[in-house]
Every structure is written in structure tokens, then in C-alpha cells.
Symmetry: none
Subunit: 190 residues, 4 copies
């Protein structure tokens, strides 16, 4: 009973992620999601209060999973450079392996859907990552500024370059991760 439940929730999440990529937030609907999941629209209301609640929770789930995948396999005793490189690599691999999830997040995070509570909750999952940059600042390896700014300089350019690189007709040739990381590191190191 519990098993079935979780499977269905995952199926709904997958359907939403896929549909958002196909038709966008402007054209999605409860019945389309239901049809794509293979259930009745009424069943969606067994799992979520309403459309907004559903999108918030699904966004939270997907974003949380991304955060986890990006901060895994980093030992606390590692050097700051190696830790930051691993973070960037994790992000890079996540975008390649979970492209639809990543693009779903990109659409969702810019919409005025997110509440302060959601943002706050998500920031909790980032604590460990912040600590790494904090350590780099304290050790004098990184620039003496806010860790959030340092993180921004690693994550967002990589994300945007990935999106640029995905475009078929993009002028940007296939990405050389070493060069990208070098730019990140040169940007944030002291």
C-alpha cells in the first residue's frame, strides 16, 4: 500500500517534469498531467491539495534531489580546490544525466511561484556546500567576500553554458570542462 503510493507520486513527478519540458508552464494542466501519468485527474487530488501545492512540492522534491546529487562524495578533509572542483563536476554530470529535471528547475525557479518558506527550506540543503566555501575564505584561498557570491560564480555560469551548449545551432563548441572549471576557479580564488 505504501509502496504503491510512492511509485505513483514518482510517476506524477516524472510526468510533470517531462510535460513542462515539452509544452511549458503556460500550457500545462491537471488533466494533461493525469493523462501523462496514466491516472484520473481526480487521483491527483489524493496526493496534492491543489495545482499550486502540487507544483511547489514537486519542485521542492526535484530541486532537493539536485542539491543532494551535487554535493555528494565530498569528504570534509579534502582541499578546498578539490572540493569545489568536485561540486562543479557533480553539477555538470547532473545536468547531463538529468537534463529534463534540470530544465524543469530552470523554468520553475524563475517563476513567481516560489515562496519564502520554500527558499528557506532549500537553503538548508545547501549548508554543507556553503561550509566548503566558508573554509576557503577562512584559509585565505578564496576571495574575501560572501560565500553565496562565490557559489554563484561557480554554479550559474556552468548551468548557462550547459544550456547554451545544448542548443543545436549554438556558436559554442562542445564544452571542455577543464577550461570551464579553470574559469570558475580563477574567478573565485584569491
Amino acid at each position: 500500500m505504501r509502496r504503491k503510493d510512492e511509485n505513483k507520486k514518482a510517476a506524477i513527478t516524472n510526468a510533470i517534469v517531462r510535460l513542462i519540458n515539452e509544452i511549458g508552464f503556460a500550457n500545462i494542466s491537471m488533466s494533461k498531467i493525469a493523462k501523462a501519468t496514466g491516472i484520473s485527474p481526480a487521483t491527483l487530488y489524493v496526493y496534492y491539495e491543489n495545482k499550486e501545492d502540487m507544483f511547489r512540492k514537486v519542485y521542492m522534491d526535484v530541486k532537493k534531489q539536485m542539491t543532494e546529487k551535487c554535493s555528494k562524495d565530498i569528504a570534509s578533509e579534502e582541499s578546498v580546490e578539490k572540493a569545489v572542483r568536485k561540486l562543479c563536476e557533480n553539477l555538470f554530470h547532473y545536468m547531463q544525466e538529468y537534463t529534463e529535471e534540470f530544465l524543469f528547475i530552470e523554468q520553475a525557479c524563475n517563476s513567481p511561484m516560489a515562496t519564502d518558506e520554500m527558499i528557506e527550506e532549500l537553503e538548508q540543503y545547501n549548508r554543507d556546500t556553503v561550509k566548503i566555501f566558508q573554509r576557503g575564505i577562512e584559509e585565505g584561498i578564496l576571495k574575501q567576500t560572501s560565500p553565496v557570491l562565490l557559489i554563484s560564480f561557480c554554479y550559474y555560469p556552468i548551468q548557462q553554458i550547459f544550456k547554451e551548449w545544448r542548443k543545436e545551432k549554438s556558436m559554442l563548441p562542445k564544452v571542455d570542462f577543464e577550461m570551464v572549471f579553470q574559469m570558475c576557479w580563477d574567478g573565485i580564488r584569491r
Copy 2:
């Protein structure tokens, strides 16, 4: 016979930009746009073929204006560093002066609305900017990679940092442009 009113087109654009910021792409509708513009829904179809056509054209207009504002006041004989600094400053000022337009673009550019023709057309307006970075590469001042990658490392972090900074409860203190530009420049310079 009445003439088409160019003011009306601008009013529609403004209404769309404002509404998208307030309620997002998922909740916008032709009638809400009409009401916000102060015209009849039917009149929207005098100016645009349909909803999709409208959003595409409005996006193109706003994005084009942003591109122009970001590449203005840059003399071709300036040093590459000064030119790049000016580009970053222009972007920074644009985001502050035209925050709603900027956030509209951020939502629109991630939606699956954009066509290849749109992207191609927009890239034309970026030609002059590309040339600056091209020169930096040739002069050996910038890293030996694609100019698009170099541009990405200036524009996107700045944009994301601006968005981070706007969040009320953000952990990021008010942005110091000098520090941000320093990070951009360190990232892209040889």
C-alpha cells in the same frame, strides 16, 4: 479608416511584462492582458496573430532592447578590459533600471517557447559584443576559447547574482560591483 496605434503596442508590452512578474507564465491569459492594457481582448488580435505570436514578438522586442542597452557607449578603440567592464556595467544598470523587463526575459528564455529563428535573429544583435571578446582573444589578453563562453562568464553570473541580491531574505549582502567585475575579469583573462 483608423490607423494602428503604436502607443497601444507599447502599452500591451508593458502590461505583459508587469503581469508576468506578478502572476507568472502559468497564470497569464489574454483577457488579463487586455484588462491590464485597458483594451478589449479582441483588440489584441488586431496587433498579434495569437497568444504564442504575441509572446514571441513581445519577448523579441524586450530582449532586443536589453541587448541594445547593454552594448551602448562602447567605442571600438577602447581597451578590451575597459570595453568588457562597460558591458558588465551596462548589464548591471539595465537590471536595476529595467528590473521587470529583465525578470520577464529570465522567465521567457527558459520556456520552450523560443524557436530557432528567434534565437538566430537575436544573435545578430550580439555581433558587436562578440567582436570585443574576439579582439581580446586575438590580442592574447583573454583565455583562448570560444567568445561565447567568455561572454557567458560575464553575463550570467552577474544576472544570477542580481537575482540573488533581490531576494529579501537572501544571505548575500548588497552587491559590490567592483568585486563582481573583478571575479568576471579574473575568470576570463589569460
Copy 3:
């Protein structure tokens, strides 16, 4: 879970037949049909895919019922003349008893709504009638031509005469069925 209500489908059909007679195909609409049926416009889409599908299916139902009523009570061992007379009588009575249904069919059958599949399906219900005329041809009683042509000479004049007769200011006095049948029979017999 609620079950689909067959009464509702019949109510929709009745409303359509009545409305088409009142206001014609040019002025009918889904919401008028819904209001006349006493349901929500959205409910129509529970029973039919769209307007076209609805009209096609309703036309098929009504036409099929007409065909059945026109070919009933005809024993296969009866003489061809008696069988044909019965066919004409059945049609005559149908038009009088189901005038609205008949006039609905007359409007629908001339519109470019009918597909080949519809026509083909309807022809199946006519098989028994065709057989009667086929027999008349083989027995040498009827003119040696296509049974469809013979049928046409019975059905269509009677239908048109009924319509003429219905017009209040028509110059045609109230119809004498015996005379009409005599004309049919004289037309088709050898």
C-alpha cells in the same frame, strides 16, 4: 464513481433536433444546446469529443432510427407492390409523427458534414429495402435499372411533397397518399 447517463444522451439529441428546426445550423451553438438540454456546456464534452463529432453521431442515430421505422413490418413473402407501398406508407407516417427529426435530417444530409464512412454505415441499414427492389427487378415487375434509382423515385418525391405540403401558404392542397403512391408506382413499374 458516477455512471454515464443514457437519458442524458437522448436529452441532448432531442435538444439538438428541436433547436436545429428552430434556428438552423447557422445559428446553433454548444451553449445553446447545453441550455436547451439543461446541462453545462462542459458536460457535452463528456458525451462527445467535439461539436462535429456530436453532430455526426446525433445525425447517425436519428437517421438510423428513421431507416428502421421506414422498413418495419414488411414480410419477405409479400408481393413487391405491397412491400413498396408499405415502405412509402412507413415513410409518410414517419414524417408526420417525427416531423422535427425528419426536417433535422433534411438539413443535415445536405451539409458538407457527412463523411464517406457515415454514408457507408448508413447504407448497411438499407440492405433489406434494397433487396425488395432487387426482387422486383428480377421478377420483371419493376423497370430494369439500379435499385437505388428506383428507391430514389419513391422516397425523395414523397419527402419533398411532404415538405411542400407543410408550407402554410403552399399552393399544394393536403396530400392524397393514394395519388402519390400511384405516381411512385407508375414511375418505377415496368
Copy 4:
């Protein structure tokens, strides 16, 4: 000035006839008619009061033309049989030459658009035809009944057989006019 006017009216009529055949009365609109004619929707209102007025007048024009073409080349001294044969031939040729006009009439005449005045006016154009049948009755050649009934037995079967014959998958082989006229004549003659 006058010339231009009449040309435009004819162009509108042609566009309507063509469009009704393509999309039917249910889907036609003033703007579609305007576009098909190559004029502005507003211009339609120079020639007709409103949509209903337009359809009525166009129907009257087309129907009147049909009536004229069907009753031409019939000398008053001809024998009744020859005159009736000519009437049937004229109708047959009209349907073949002006198929779209004929099918337009078939759609229009069954709709509840026609007023009593329209019908009355159209009957005036039929006077000469009625006289022929009247003469046949008086001469004892035709059945002793209403001339309208006799006319109905000639015109309507021929029309319906033409429609049947037009269907690609019709079971009715290509029509033999001699057989059809024989059936008409056998039906109405004494």
C-alpha cells in the same frame, strides 16, 4: 461606378456559394466571406444590411437564376411532353454546369432562413412552368391533380438522383437521363 458595384456583388455571391460548399452554413462568417471575395468585412455592409439580409438576397439571386435557366427555350406551342422533357433536361444540365450553385440552394432551402415573402416571390418565377403542367392536366395528358405535385415528381427525384450520383462510392451507376425522364413521365402521365 455602377459597373464596379455589380461586379463586386457577383464576386460576393460567388465567394458565398463556394464557401458554403466547402465549409457549410455552420462554419461560415462575414470575415471569411470578405477574405474569399478579396474585400474588407466592412465593405459587405455597403452592399447588404446584415448577415441575414445578405444570405436571403444571395439565395434569392441564385435560386432565381436557377429557375430561369430551367425554364428557358420552351416554346408555348410545344407539346406538353416535349415541354416537360425540356424542363427536366434544363434542370439536369443546370445541376451539371452549376453544381456549386445547386448544392448551395439545397443547403439553403432546408434551413429555417426562408421567409414567406421569399417563397412567394420565388413562386412568381415559376408561373410559366406551372402553366405547362396546367395545360397537361386540362388536355387530359397528365394525372388529374395539383400541378405543384406533378412538378415535384419531376424536379425533386432528378435533383436527389444527381446528388446520389455525385457521391464517389455511390451504388448508383452513372445516370441514364432517358431512363430517369421515362420514370418522371410514367409517374405523372395519365
